[in-house]
């Protein structure tokens, strides 16, 4: 399966086309094809996970000494039995060379404190798409632990969302297209995940951008929805500028190849120049900021809640937004070297991540729409993942991505279930006390919230704890504090959310009831995963780490820190304190009333949060407005006066030049020559004409005279 992993995105791609052409005629409107395809993809992904697990770990990689440039001291052995790699990488040769270099030494790297454990080597499969100028553009798949984990997650969430949507989107005006778009979107994410070359990854990235536009704007008849879709697309597109620039820089810096493994290798072994690497990594990170909704390009994600809830669950909880995190994780060699993450202190990735954690969490407090709360929560958790990558806790970041997919997906689907019952998303106005009406939804939502908050022994606890541990141990104490504050705020706003939705008295007007099985069964499945997924990396077991450990990880010499009890206790205390505070304020009813009415500062703070830090005003008003107005007018003026002026001027000048040439050269010189030839011929002819007198005797005279002369000549000379 690992060699043929391309089948997985192929399945969903085929299902997209099938739904598009045949969906309308089928009894369930195309959903059967979608569910079948994604289900099969999930099964194959699970098979891939098992196969990956069974794969013997034979590759030994020594850490590269990153202190000096240009000296590669890595050495390793080839995987013996499995010969899946059809295309040898360039660093196979580098490895062979390095063996000679390192043979004299004792074989211990300078950076690594760990001994080099053998890892499973990635399964690569490439074919050359086209080549130009000596450069081969390849497409192919590269499967390693990160890939199979994400395949598993994405296909599972996608399958559950499909099942959920059959009931949630029932009777929708564009039911079939919705499923087609879901299939296409899944294809895009799977393509990104399995690709071995950056160019191919870009395909998947952009495909997801397109599908998110289609899906967010699913009910485009209402203007706010299409506006939100536009905003999402354009904001991520702004980030994509950086991505494209970064991709091109990486291409050239890595020696004209898009191959991800080659790029990482080149970055880690110091083959790229320092400035080039920094600029390229920063550009790539801009793309990540856009796609993964980091500050300052996070504004699209809350607005994207205008789309259907299954879309929010799939795209904005589990799949698309983590594409940026995945990209950083994949190209970690580049970022590790460019921003010198090993050194500790601060670096741009961690800073952006940290800021995102805090400001998003703050915004989650003032939302009345349940989906908006979850959206800001997602932004905050994405900040956690990016921050983790920034502090060098690679495995922690991936692990958090993994667990977050489950409990955030669960929370979104739960919100969907609630809205299905009360036909609204407003917590303040239409919800309250729903635990009596919707027990299954309530229980699963609670599990999800506790997992998000990070309560032992649910999934979120383990992953968040690993992040904080990594921050502390790698020399990023500041970000450990940021993480703790974020954990506190997370627990607090989730308590508020849960309280407003499920507790208290019912403030709505309808008759809420529990949702049917297509909705509740996915909730239960996700709840199970939310509970158990964290144990995958539990101390002693550490299966997740072992599965995802890859070449880059070892080459860079990233450290993995096992569970330590003290930081775990500290974070648990913080979380429980937050829960207690929340319980006090909401459950016990001790929420101070009228604070904003009394205090100026409180009012200002509330307004700041309610207006989302005025960032939207900045973007649409200042940036877009100035471009639409003065800049556009200036460009128009330049176009009309300057550019058109030049063009018209050239035209007028050419016309005048042509006229002059016509008058003086063509008429006088050329025509003069032609006419002159005519006149000359005429004159000469006139002269010759006088010989012809018409008189025969004259002709005779000429004849005889000529004959006489000729005869004379004959006689004299012959």
């Amino acid at each position: 399966m690992l060699e043929n992993i391309w089948v997985v995105p192929g399945l969903t791609f085929a299902s997209f086309w099938l739904i598009l052409f045949f969906g309308k005629r089928l009894p369930k409107g195309g959903a059967e094809i979608g569910i079948a395809a994604v289900g099969l993809a999930f099964v194959l992904s699970s098979v891939a996970v098992v196969e990956w697990n069974d794969r013997p770990a034979t590759e030994e990689v020594e850490a590269v000494s990153t202190g000096e440039h240009g000296e590669a001291e890595a050495h390793g052995s080839e995987p013996d039995a499995h010969e899946e790699a059809e295309d040898e990488h360039s660093f196979g040769e580098v490895r062979a060379l390095a063996v000679d270099l390192a043979a004299a030494e004792a074989g211990e790297g300078e950076a690594g404190e760990h001994e080099a454990e053998p890892i499973r080597s990635a399964v690569e499969r490439n074919l050359t798409w086209f080549s130009f100028g000596g450069v081969d553009i390849t497409v192919g798949t590269a499967v390693d632990g990160l890939t199979v984990i994400l395949l598993f997650t994405v296909t599972l969430i996608s399958l559950l969302v499909h099942v959920f949507s059959t009931n949630y989107m029932h009777g929708d005006v564009r039911f079939t297209y919705f499923f087609a778009a879901l299939s296409l979107f899944t294809t895009g994410m799977l393509l990104l995940v399995v690709s071995s070359s950056l160019l191919q990854a870009l395909f998947g990235w952009e495909l997801m951008g397109l599908c998110s536009f289609m899906l967010i704007g699913h009910w485009w008849e209402k203007k706010p929805n299409s506006d939100a879709a536009m905003k999402a697309f354009l904001t991520t597109r702004t980030g994509d500028i950086g991505l494209l620039v970064g991709l091109v820089i990486m291409f050239f810096a890595a020696g004209q190849t898009f191959d991800i493994a080659a790029v990482n290798e080149a970055a880690l072994t110091g083959a790229m120049g320092e400035t080039v690497l920094l600029v390229g990594a920063s550009a790539l990170f801009v793309g990540v900021i856009g796609k993964s909704a980091q500050f300052p390009l996070h504004t699209w994600l809350p607005d994207a809640m205008a789309g259907p809830t299954p879309v929010s669950a799939l795209i904005h909880a589990a799949t698309m937004v983590v594409a940026g995190v995945y990209l950083v994780a994949r190209l970690y060699g580049v970022f590790w070297t460019a921003f010198d993450i090993e050194a500790g202190g601060v670096n741009p990735i961690a800073v952006i991540g940290g800021i995102t954690v805090l400001i998003a969490a703050a915004l989650a407090f003032v939302q009345t729409d349940i989906k908006k709360v979850l959206a800001y929560s997602t932004v905050s958790q994405l900040g956690y993942m990016v921050m983790a990558l920034g502090v060098g806790a690679w495995t922690a970041a991936i692990f958090h991505l993994f667990t977050h997919a489950f409990f955030k997906g669960l929370l979104f689907l739960g919100a969907g279930s609630v809205s299905h019952a009360v036909h609204s998303f407003e917590m303040r106005d239409d919800m309250g006390g729903l635990r009596k009406f919707m027990p299954t939804t309530f229980v699963t939502f609670m599990i999800g919230s506790l997992a998000l908050a990070g309560v032992f022994p649910l999934a979120g606890f383990w992953s968040k704890d690993e992040i904080l541990l990594g921050a502390a141990e790698n020399g990023y104490r500041l970000f450990e504090v940021v993480g703790l504050i974020g954990a506190f705020m997370t627990a607090a706003y989730m308590t508020r959310c849960v309280y407003l939705t499920f507790f208290g008295s019912y403030r709505g007007h309808g008759h809420p009831h529990e949702s049917p099985p297509p909705i509740t069964v996915p909730l239960i499945i996700l709840a199970v995963f939310s509970v158990g997924a964290g144990l995958l990396n539990a101390p002693g077991f550490e299966k997740f780490f072992e599965l995802t450990e890859n070449r880059v990880f070892l080459l860079a010499g990233i450290e993995h820190h096992s569970f330590e009890i003290v930081p775990a206790v500290v974070s648990s205390v913080v979380v429980l304190a937050a829960l207690a505070l929340g319980g006090l304020l909401f459950f016990a009813g001790r929420l101070p009333r009228g604070v904003t009415a009394r205090s100026r500062a409180a009012r200002a703070g509330y307004r700041l949060l309610a207006n989302k830090y005025y960032l939207d005003h900045l973007y649409t008003g200042v940036v877009v407005g100035s471009i639409k107005g003065p800049i556009a007018r200036a460009a128009y003026w330049a176009n009309q006066k300057v550019i058109d002026g030049v063009v018209n001027g050239v035209g007028v000048a050419s016309t005048r030049a042509g006229l002059w040439v016509y008058r003086h050269i063509d008429q006088r010189v050329v025509d003069g020559a032609v006419n002159g030839a005519g006149f000359g011929a005429e004159g000469f002819g006139g002269i010759l004409r006088t010989i012809q007198t018409g008189r025969v005797q004259q002709y005779g005279a000429l004849l005889f005279g000529a004959t006489a002369v000729l005869a004379l000549g004959l006689v004299i000379f012959v």
Binding site: R689, Q692, T693, G694, R695, V696, Q697, G700, F704
Partner: protein, 102 residues
């Protein structure tokens, strides 16, 4: 007698005839000059025939007879043409027959 006597006499008559053809204005006079030329030719023929023995002499005579005949025919037609010119233009001045003037 030298054969050259006759031949040179023939040449003299010929050249006088040529002068007459080129220099005379009247068409009839031109024809007369042509007769002079033809006679010169005849003298040549007979003299050269006589130079070379009996058969040649006879051949010379035969040919000169032919020349006389042809001269007669030519004069007939030539005068007819001159008559026509006279009828059309009331003149036989050859200088005035220059319709082909370029």
């Amino acid at each position: 007698m030298l054969v050259n006597q006759f031949l040179i006499l023939g040449a003299v008559l010929f050249c006088i005839g040529v002068y007459g053809v080129l220099a005379r204005r009247n068409g009839v006079l031109v024809l007369m000059s042509i007769e002079l030329i033809l006679n010169a030719v005849n003298i040549n023929l007979i003299a050269l025939g006589a130079l070379q023995g009996p058969e040649a002499a006879v051949t010379g005579q035969v040919f000169s007879l032919f020349v006389i005949t042809i001269a007669a025919a030519e004069v007939g037609v030539g005068l007819a043409i001159v008559l026509l010119i006279y009828r059309n233009r009331t003149t036989v001045d050859l200088d005035e027959v220059d319709l082909m003037k370029g």
